[in-house]
């Protein structure tokens, strides 16, 4: 299995589903919001949104609080600390995959530079190697 496939295989499946990914990304960017806000921003229908939220709540990623604003019922939603941690790990894994691709590009460019340097007899071949990036993200 190559590195990219391995990275995809290790992604959190609860978050990786497109609908839930939208919900979690929005919740990660705000302190809290209500059901109407999510409905509007994600453009999902009420049934789908409820079902996704139930799955996220079941995984312990989202906290759902039913309150009243005046006489109007309000459903407040916020990401829990485990939810934040899971989203951070998911985000970092995507970043790491992107960086691996950049690393490949860098390798290609370095190989080109090396061949050019050998041809020209310069010191360009002794550039610092690409550092081990974001090791925590693979954990």
């Amino acid at each position: 299995m190559n590195e990219q496939l391995r990275a995809i295989a290790g992604l959190d499946r609860v978050i990786h589903e497109p609908g839930r990914m939208m919900i979690v990304a929005l919740l990660a960017a705000v302190e809290e919001c209500d059901f109407l806000y999510l409905l509007r921003e994600t453009e999902l229908n009420k049934g789908n949104l409820s079902s996704h939220l139930a799955k996220l709540e079941e995984a312990g990623y989202v906290e759902i609080e039913k309150t009243y604003r005046g006489k109007v019922p309000q459903t407040l939603l916020r990401l829990t600390p485990p939810g934040h941690a899971a989203f951070d790990a998911y985000r970092q894994r995507l970043n790491a995959a992107l960086l691996e691709h950049l690393q490949v590009l860098s390798g290609t460019s370095k190989a080109t530079q090396t061949s050019q340097a050998q041809a020209e007899g310069t010191e360009a071949a002794t550039r610092p190697s690409f550092p081990a990036l974001n090791q925590g993200a693979h954990g």
Partner: protein, 344 residues
């Protein structure tokens, strides 16, 4: 190399990250979708501008007593609270019933605002009182035996100690690192990664150049253009003599205001093209309109300050902000009807 770069957007993670980034930026981008920020800031500028007019309208007897003199400072207090209170009210009664409630992580709390205002006042006094004290001490030394000055020196000294203590205490609480805006990309890692590839270095250079142009080049150009316009019109100075500090401060004020407007409407301006016209009015309006509005000079000793920050310029800028915010709010209400109330 070029083939590799072209294939980059096809990597699934790149697409996912782009979607995440777009989604995470939406709450911050929609903060001013209802024009509430413009209404708040416009009201603050209108309040600041109206202070001189109110001072002229109030009778002398109001200023004579400590118990009534606070009336003259009401606009200043309103100006302090308007950028906080008006957006809150608009969001609570107009925006949230339509779009749903949302709390952003960097929203300022009321207690933070009060602390910030007290800190600002304490800092101002801490910086200005030493000058007063030095002057008084020098006068007392030159007039040896004048005991009446000693009382004032002790009082000002105590005030300085209290203000400085308050400024240091509150400063540690108020000046805190703001949470960074949420982003899907890990900027440090991407920066490091890009810096390793030759093409990436080119991208980084382009990004650095764009940032430099945005934050240094454009403000300098706008400031220069306003300066030139004011120099050309001259009428804004109310007298024929060219007063350079006034020109400098005014051009900085007008240019900063226009840039703030542009930043506050970064996303909305794409939807509402008429805001470009408002921006032009904001740049040219104070220069053209302000000289036509007279302002009273109640205290001649305040003249240098009034020349630097003429109240009519504040009024014109405040009015433009307020009208722009009002128009945005009306359009927002028209395009976002209240959702139907569901019966159980």
């Amino acid at each position: 190399m070029r083939d590799n770069l072209q294939s980059l957007p096809d990597v699934p993670e790149v697409g996912d990250l782009a979607k995440l980034q777009a989604q995470m930026q939406r709450p911050a981008q929609n903060v001013n979708m209802d024009g509430s920020f413009e209404l708040g800031w416009g009201t603050a500028l209108l309040c600041f501008g109206s202070v001189s007019y109110l001072n002229a309208a109030l009778s002398e007897s109001v200023w004579a007593s400590w118990w009534t003199a606070w009336i003259g400072y009401v606009p200043v207090i309103c100006a302090g609270f308007a950028p906080y209170g008006i957006p809150k009210m608009v969001k609570r009664f107009i925006t949230w019933p339509r779009t749903g409630y949302v709390a952003n992580p960097n929203d300022m709390k009321l207690i933070q605002l009060v602390m910030l205002m007290v800190f600002g006042g304490a800092l101002g006094f801490s910086l200005s009182l030493p000058f007063v004290l030095v002057t008084e001490v020098l006068e007392a030394i030159s007039q040896a035996g004048a005991h009446s000055d000693l009382h004032s020196i002790i009082l000002h000294g105590l005030e300085l100690v209290v203000c400085a203590t308050l400024a240091v205490y509150l400063g540690r609480k108020v000046i805190r690192k703001r949470q960074p805006l949420p982003a899907a990309y890990d900027a440090a890692l991407i920066y490091q990664g890009l810096g390793q590839a030759a093409t990436g270095k080119k991208h980084l250079r382009a990004v650095r150049f764009t940032l430099l142009v945005m934050f240094v080049g454009i403000p300098t150009l706008v400031c220069g253009a306003v300066f030139w316009l004011m120099y050309w019109s001259k009428s804004v100075m109310r007298h024929t003599e060219i007063y350079w500090p006034q020109l400098g401060v005014l051009s900085f004020l007008v240019a900063t205001n226009a840039i703030l407007y542009l930043m506050g409407n970064g996303v909305a301006i794409k939807r509402h093209r008429w805001k470009w016209l408002v921006l032009a009015i904001m740049l040219i309006g104070p220069i053209v309109v302000a000289p036509a509005i007279p302002y009273p000079v109640v205290k001649p000793e305040l003249m240098p300050t009034l020349e630097l920050f003429p109240p009519q310029v504040m009024l014109v800028m405040g009015l433009v902000w307020f009208l722009s915010g009002g128009a945005t709010l009306i359009l927002f209400i028209r395009h976002n009807p209240l959702p139907p109330v569901e019966t159980p």
